[in-house]
Amino acid sequence: MEDHYQHLYEMLSQVEGYIYPNEIELQWGILIVLYPYLTGLVAGAFILASLERVFKIKVLGPTYQLALITALSFLIVAPFTLISHLGQPLRAYEIMITPNGTSAMAIFGFIYLWYLLAVLNLEIWLDYRRDFVIWAKEKKGFMRGVYKVLSLGTSDISPKAVKLDDRLGYIITVIGIPSAFLLHGYVGFIFGSIKANPWWSTVLMPVIFIFSAMVSGIALIMILYMVVSFLRKVKIDMACLDTIAKYLFYMLILDFTLESLDQVHRIYEAEESFDILNVLVNGRLNITLFIFQIFSGMIIPLIGIGAIQLFKVREQVRKIIYLLTGVMVLVGIFFMRWNVVIGGQLFSKGFHGFTNFKLGLVGSEGLFMAIMWMVLPFVILAFLLWLLPPWKKEEAA
């Protein structure tokens, strides 16, 4: 408690202008930055997977399972960032039993469960069911039991049954696309529907969130595909990688257009909040917004991947550009979430001043905690890739 007050007194000394006294403390810290970031990666990765499945872009085949499993690993971790930031984490279940019909946040539990159980898990299960049955036969001892349980006791792998799996999986992917939009669009709505906060309150917020989610998810899969191939010492399928990059490029353009539209609209309308937002953007947010989000997170990747679309570039160079731009995009989208969540709390709702945000290292809202939540999905991913190796599947086929 003393530390907490100490920290707040320090922030008090950094207040500029006048802010309401209760606004000195930021309610939402880095964990709430991570939350939309993680769900964004989920939604983006899923959309990439469904490009292959529903839109029949078959070159993306090598990344289909990888994208699904990545989405699952990040989705498992996402709610923990939310729950661990709560003042009363043990009461989190209330959001499921008495959701408030008028709250954007209340729908979270249901959309989350729907997406986790009815979409992702089901799609992965249907996709792997045949392999579970085969692996359960091949393996011995404990692992045999595991795959038996995973196959839920089904054993029919006749072409007819497998065809049914495929059919069902297709239907679920079709349902999954709007679900992924819903999952992330509603996260945008959580912010976009707060009329008290002009930095958040825009109808474009959910749409911007969806497109930035696709950008980040595609970039993540692009990098993961390269890394996983490198670790497995197999050759990267360049046609697949180039196609992913192409979609990343399209999404970047859309995202860039939407975000610019939002800002242009804001600047042109110049409502009462404009003056303070202007100072915010050019002051406390200038590095994270102009450098990380726009310059290195958008413009450089656009130029980098754009150049590859126009000119013939050697394979080795392409890979390096993809890797670099992928990382830059991921960092850029992280700072996009940062600028929304943290930026929206830095200025007073009375429009007369600013508070400050200092990221602590330890504690439930600290940097280490955030790093842990950021690393955990990769650990889960590694485990799932070991349990459900997509490449073994190919061999079995």
Partner: protein, 238 residues
């Protein structure tokens, strides 16, 4: 079997009962509390902010206030200076030379107890709500401490209680109201700058006050249905 059936049935139907009830208009009988603040008679003594902290277990640190007083100083060059040292609890000292001042006044702030309150709208679990008599309250045994309501309040009237770890706000001293007493801040106001009362009672002090004065609410464009009416509100105040 039948028992399990009714169990599941009631579990399904209960939330719908709740939804139906929530959309009911407020009952026509019983009090409907509102507040009026007269900026022209506030003398900036800060007794209200002080009494509020004593009455309601609000932490003493200057980051948590259910009510506070702001001092506005409009300078001759048009600049607006706003201060609220420790929420006005220790009183105010004048800080600007008199000859530079165009206009200056005190503005007490507190929860607006909005009838279309943006804060209760966003609560994910139904831990903050408008009571049947029009007071926005927090159920501290049920609040999960997500902070969404704090974000949604346009007036900065909520905070997360550092010890209880739940959202906390002005209750209009609900425990005093229910016993027929004035809220602590109103009790200690020396100049009747703060008035509360039943808006449904045509003879109440507040209704008379509203009849006799030109009142306005804070941030009317947000359509929060604020029930805190100010007399003497000027363009600078936000």
């Amino acid at each position: 079997m039948a028992a399990a059936g009714t169990l599941v049935l009631s579990s399904v139907s209960r939330p719908f009962n709740v939804l139906l009830m929530a959309s009911d208009p407020p009952p026509e009988e019983g009090p409907w509390w509102g507040i009026a603040i007269d900026i022209t008679t506030c003398i900036g003594c800060g007794m209200c902010a002080r009494a509020c902290k004593m009455e309601n277990d609000v932490p003493d640190e200057p980051f948590y206030f259910r009510t506070w007083v702001e001092q506005y100083t409009v300078l001759n060059n048009g600049e607006v200076k706003i201060e609220s040292p420790n929420g006005g609890i220790d009183g105010f000292k004048s800080s600007v030379p008199e000859e530079e001042i165009f206009k200056t006044f005190f503005v007490p702030k507190m929860c607006n107890h909005c009838s279309k309150s943006p804060c209760t709208q966003v609560c994910p679990v139904g831990a903050t709500f408008e009571s049947p008599d029009g007071v926005a309250l927090v159920d501290e045994k049920y609040c999960i401490g997500c902070g969404y309501c704090v974000q949604a309040c346009p007036y900065g009237c909520r905070y997360l209680h550092p010890e209880k770890k739940v959202a906390d706000k002005c209750t209009l001293c609900y425990h005093r109201l229910k016993n027929g007493l004035a809220p602590a801040c109103m009790e200690v106001c020396p100049s009747k700058a703060r008035i509360y009362g039943n808006l449904r009672d045509r003879d109440s002090e507040i209704v008379r006050f509203l009849k006799e004065h030109d009142y306005q609410v804070l941030k009317p464009h947000l359509n929060t249905g604020s029930k805190l009416y100010y007399n003497g509100l000027t363009a600078e105040i936000s």
